[in-house]
């Protein structure tokens, strides 16, 4: 039951990263691919009706994590206190920059919000990547299971790490590159004209950086977190996830269809996330201190009744949500004209 919920939470996280990932990516490249006001309205229109719904996956995923693994939710959220608060502030700034920019037809107003949209999207990608890096690397849990990470210490992933060390910064940079690629692929699919041309060129450039970053990150991850090597040795079939990531990354380069290329990018993200999740499983928050071996799905889940009854209402809700997503994206299919 715990393993099933682990998979469901991982599914929510993956859905969030893939869906909100492309609108974060559109924000990252916003200033680069769209130069004039009309072009910038075009990139915003390419995410306008869906970005809010995409962010719901974060909130719904957080709620799911809350009741399926309360100990993990509580300890991770309080331990990552400072970066999470930064995430909240960035989400607030980003949300209003998207919603409020269109309320006034004034160049000063627009040029105030455009950099905020781009900057908050960029920082969010880096912080989310670094957060994932912290979970893979592990945190210094004390005997009671609590921890509190400073933003940085000596930038080394040792026994006394900070949120930022060379490994998590690498994760952040990789996330930035991946979402740049993902967002460019979305914009290429959804736009025409100059924005489309620039997004196309960015895909090529971002792809090379993603390839280099993904290789570096894979090597670094095995070096930093010994659990990964153990897991893949014990269950060789888990290699399908990195294989999915590698294959999809190659497909992004090979495929010419805009839609197929975007889907390949989504599969690449799913493969990367699944590799990390499967690699540390059954841990959900490994420890780097001797006082506590770390949080697993088993010692962070509540009593069985809650997990069982949870399935009864959660699965229908997920199907309903999937239905809404299909409905919205169908209504919103096709390119956005300038």
């Amino acid at each position: 039951m715990e393993t099933l919920w682990f998979c469901l939470v991982a599914l929510m996280v993956a859905a969030y990263v893939i869906l909100d990932g492309f609108d974060l990516g559109a924000g990252i490249v916003h200033l680069a691919v769209a130069r004039s006001d009309a072009e910038r309205r075009q990139t915003l229109a390419a995410i306008g009706p869906v970005w809010d719904g995409n962010e719901v996956w974060l909130i719904a995923g957080g709620g799911t994590l809350f009741f399926a693994f309360p100990a993990l939710y509580a300890l991770a959220f309080s331990g990552f206190y400072l970066p999470l608060m930064v995430v909240l502030w960035l989400l607030i700034l980003r949300g209003i920059s998207i919603e409020f920019r269109s309320h006034l037809d004034n160049p000063v107003w627009a040029s105030f919000w455009d950099p905020i949209f781009c900057g908050s999207s960029t920082l969010l990608a880096i912080v989310f990547g670094a957060a994932l890096g912290n979970v893979v690397r592990g945190v210094p849990l004390d005997a009671a299971g609590d921890f509190f990470l400073p933003l940085w210490t000596n930038f080394l992933p040792g026994a006394d790490p900070g949120i930022l060390d060379w490994y998590t910064v690498l994760c952040g940079v990789t996330a930035l590159a991946v979402l740049t690629l993902h967002g460019s692929a979305w914009l290429s699919l959804k736009t025409d004209g100059p924005v489309h041309e620039r997004a196309e060129r960015l895909i090529g450039r971002a792809w090379r950086i993603v390839l280099a970053a993904a290789i570096a990150l894979s090597i670094a991850s095995f070096a930093v977190q010994p659990l990964l090597a153990q897991s893949f040795k014990k269950h060789p079939w888990l290699a399908v996830f990195p294989a999915l990531a590698a294959g999809s990354l190659a497909l992004i380069r090979i495929l010419r269809g805009e839609r197929q290329r975007f889907l390949a990018s989504a599969a690449f993200i799913a493969g990367m996330l699944a590799s990390a999740a499967a690699g540390v499983f059954p841990y959900v928050l490994p420890s780097v201190s001797a006082a506590n071996p770390g949080l697993t799905v088993f010692n962070s889940a509540p009593a069985q009744y809650g997990l069982k009854i949870g399935l009864a209402w959660w699965i229908p809700a997920l199907l309903l949500a999937a239905g809404y997503v299909a409905f919205v994206y169908r209504r919103f299919s096709g390119k956005v004209a300038m």
Binding site: A45, Y73, I92, I96, R101, H103, L320
Partner: protein, 455 residues
Amino acid sequence: MDTALAVDRLHFAFTITFHYLFPQLTMGLALLIVILKTMALRTGEERYSQCARFWAKIFAVNFAIGVVTGIPMEFQFGTNWSKFSKSAGGVIGQTLAMEGMYSFFLESTFLGLFVYGEKRLSPRLHWVAAFMVFLGSWLSGFFIIATNAWMQHPAGYRVMPDGSIALTSLSGLIFNPWIFWQYLHNMTGAVVTGSFVMAALGAFYLLTGRHREHARVFVRIGVTAGSIATLLMIFPTGDGQGHNVAMHQPPTLAAMEGLFESTPGAPLAIMGQPDTERRRLDNPLTVPGALSLLTYRRWSGSVRGLNEFPRSQWPDNVELLYYSYHIMVGLGTILFAIMGVAVWKLWRGTLMQSKPVLWALMLSFPLPYIATTAGWTTAELGRQPWLIYGVMRTAQGLSPKVTAGSGLFTLLGFMGLYSLLSALFLFLIYREVEHGPEPESVAVHLPVPVPGAAA
């Protein structure tokens, strides 16, 4: 009080108070917009559609701020109250996750269709979109009230040997008897806020001689809905919620009323200042026997005063609890009176010419916000010193490793950011109000220039 505890409580109080200024309007407006859309559909008059479109713009600005300030609420359970979340997450996580899974997906899907989709949907389908937004926001309110109700009056749980709290009955959690009146009281309050804002803007347009046709609709719908809602606010929902408190949180009732001595035929305090040192109400102005009547439905029932409970059971801020409760009740009475006069004039057909009443409507729109804030302050201070009533003390729920310094840092950050949001909000609302509901006043450049047009 311990500094970290004080900072974390203020952190939650500040962010939730600011956040709820927006949903209380959107939940109330959602209902009023459905009414406007229904009238547009039935009469076929363009005026009602224009009114609905105008309020949809006000709704959208409020909704956006409600969304971005709502996300910190869910995060704060984990960041600042990790011991509480670790123990009780298996229970309250259920209702919070339901809110995300059932209401937010619904709302975000149909809000886009409602705000941007009028030209592409048939009038009937657009009505459905408006109704779904209403349904989503009221469902969301339900799950939040269910969460709060469990903290006020826990049900359907068991405390495990390791101290964690396990859910034993989902229906116990969802059909917690506390929910019924609290939900109705809260949602009626949202309708009161929505009605007053709509009526106030209508009155403002009438008094300034602009958009008369639309202003009449605003005033008529605002006053009709507002008079019903302010009545329901007092009876039966306010009375029912008061009865909940009297039955299940007796020290809270005593503190709200400033009652120290237990007495049969207890008086209802209209005014006075509680003195917790000398344990009495200074300068009291009371209605004899009325508190007993309200609590037990008879004049002679004995109501227990604070003296009957050890100090450790008292809400930890009796004074503020007493005042917030009295502000809520006092404003509720004033709002009911204003709407009472207005609806009588409306029935007589003289409201649109009655300057004093229009002035009163125009000036009173902040009062429901204050009353709602005071009401929630009453509910949350009344729960103290418990985080989960009778189960976990507030002081036991903190994140042990988050220092007062970290908490204050982020509290100040939120204060700064929310100041910016307030300024932007007032600016954008002012612009919409200046443009008004007339069709040539298309202020919003919709960021969706008809997808599919170039496909």
